[in-house]
Structures are given as structure tokens and as C-alpha cells.
Symmetry: C2
Subunit: 137 residues, 2 copies
């Protein structure tokens, strides 16, 4: 048995309005649910959502879902369209977002790999944009 | 501009061999990369990987990728095939995994929603299996 896909990917930010602005206006995701002091849900694709939670609240538990909540710098990587790497760099520059690092991935076991742009979200999570393959199929 | 998909979803566990056994043998994911004391990468679908990191190591930084590393209980939700809910429950029972909670999601703004099974991974991350829709399209 195995799951079909990852439906919810989670990051934590202590300032939800800031996180909302970032993921909506800079990353370009569509907000589909908002629970004032607890969470924001963004639709990424037909099968995926990104959830941003306030860990200090989710750690206290919830009447429906089990408690969770992490602190520190998390990580997420988005796939970007082939050929959009430079357009993303220009877009991030226009948005005033510092690029922390760029990586061109060396070929690995015969796999030609792509490249990545790394930035930080308002919660200091490491946000990566990947053009091309990085991991073995 | 917007990304196409989420490529990498990340959780942290302090015992990587334990996490490897869990995600491979219980969740049924295929291990595609292993860096001894740092990470495990599991292929979930053609477009998605789940990365498990040892936060105490990734926080120290890396010669290629920026530092990250969170502590506490994270969360992930997998999509399971329609009709496989009871089979997953039986599978988890056979694997000796406690079900922390089951949730039948109430309809929301005209959206008929599905149901969820919640368990914990060896790092105490909250792992959810979703059959059907939960979030607005």
C-alpha cells in the first residue's frame, strides 16, 4: 500500500498576515481558507495545498484535528515551469526579496539535474524554486 | 507568476533509521536517496518527494544548500485512493500503529468532503491520510 500523493504540506510562521501577503503576493498562490489566528491554506495545484500554521496555537490542540506545531526554520521546494528560472529571479528582485543562494545541481548517477533559487519566507523558512529534476525518479 | 507544484515536502525526525523503516515499510514509500546522518528522500509520485531531515545536523548548514531545521511536531497529509480507507486502517493495525483520531469532514460551502485517519510517525509528527476532498478547489 502507498499513498497517491502529498495533499497537505505544512510550514509554521508566527505572523500569519505577513505569511499570507508573502505566499499570495510573492509566491502567487491562491488563498482558499483562513482561520484568523490559526492558519492559512493556499491552493498550489488541483491535488496540493500549502498550509501555514501558527505553531503556538496549533500546539494547544484543536477540537477536531490532533495537535502539532514546530519551531525553527522549515523547508519547502516548489517546482517552477521549465524556462521560467530567470523570470522568477526578476520577479523576486522586483518584490524586494533577497536571493540567499542559487545552486546548479551536478548530474547524479546519469540523471541530468536542474537548478534552484533559495529565498526565506517571513518566518525564516527556506523556500526553494526548482527548475528541472533534482531527485532520482 | 506561480509555481506548478510542491516538489519537496519536509519533516524532521531525530532517528533517521526509525523514520526510514516507518516511511518505507508502513507508509509504503520508495527510498530514492539516503545521506547517512543527514537525510532520507522518498519518492511519493512523479512530481513529489518527501524529505526527512535530522534537524540538529541541517541547522549547522551545508556546503550546497542553506541551513534549516525545525523541532517539535510537524504535520503532513497524504491523499489515499478512493475506497481504500478501511484497507489503510487494517494495514495500520497490522503494522501495530495506533490511530490517534479519525475525522469525517462536514460539508463546507457546498463542498462534499471526505475523511481522515491520523497517526504519529517515530518523530511524533502528525501524519494524516485523506480520502476525498478537504480543502476548497
Amino acid at each position: 500500500m502507498q499513498p497517491v500523493a502529498i495533499h497537505e504540506t505544512v510550514l509554521y510562521c508566527e505572523d500569519l498576515p505577513d505569511a499570507e501577503r508573502f505566499y499570495r503576493d510573492v509566491i502567487g498562490l491562491r488563498l482558499v481558507s483562513s482561520v484568523e489566528e490559526r492558519s492559512r491554506a493556499f491552493r498550489v495545484s488541483a491535488t496540493q495545498v500549502l498550509l501555514i500554521f501558527l505553531a503556538s496555537i496549533t500546539r494547544l490542540g484543536h477540537h477536531i484535528a490532533p495537535a502539532h506545531g514546530a519551531t525553527g526554520e522549515g523547508h519547502i521546494a516548489f517546482t517552477i515551469e521549465a524556462g521560467s528560472y530567470d523570470t522568477w529571479k526578476a520577479h523576486l528582485a522586483r518584490a524586494g526579496v533577497d536571493i540567499e543562494k542559487e545552486v546548479g545541481w551536478e548530474p547524479l548517477d546519469g540523471l541530468v539535474r536542474g537548478r534552484s533559487i533559495y529565498i526565506r519566507d517571513p518566518g525564516r523558512n527556506s523556500v526553494e524554486f526548482i527548475e528541472g529534476a533534482v531527485w532520482p525518479a
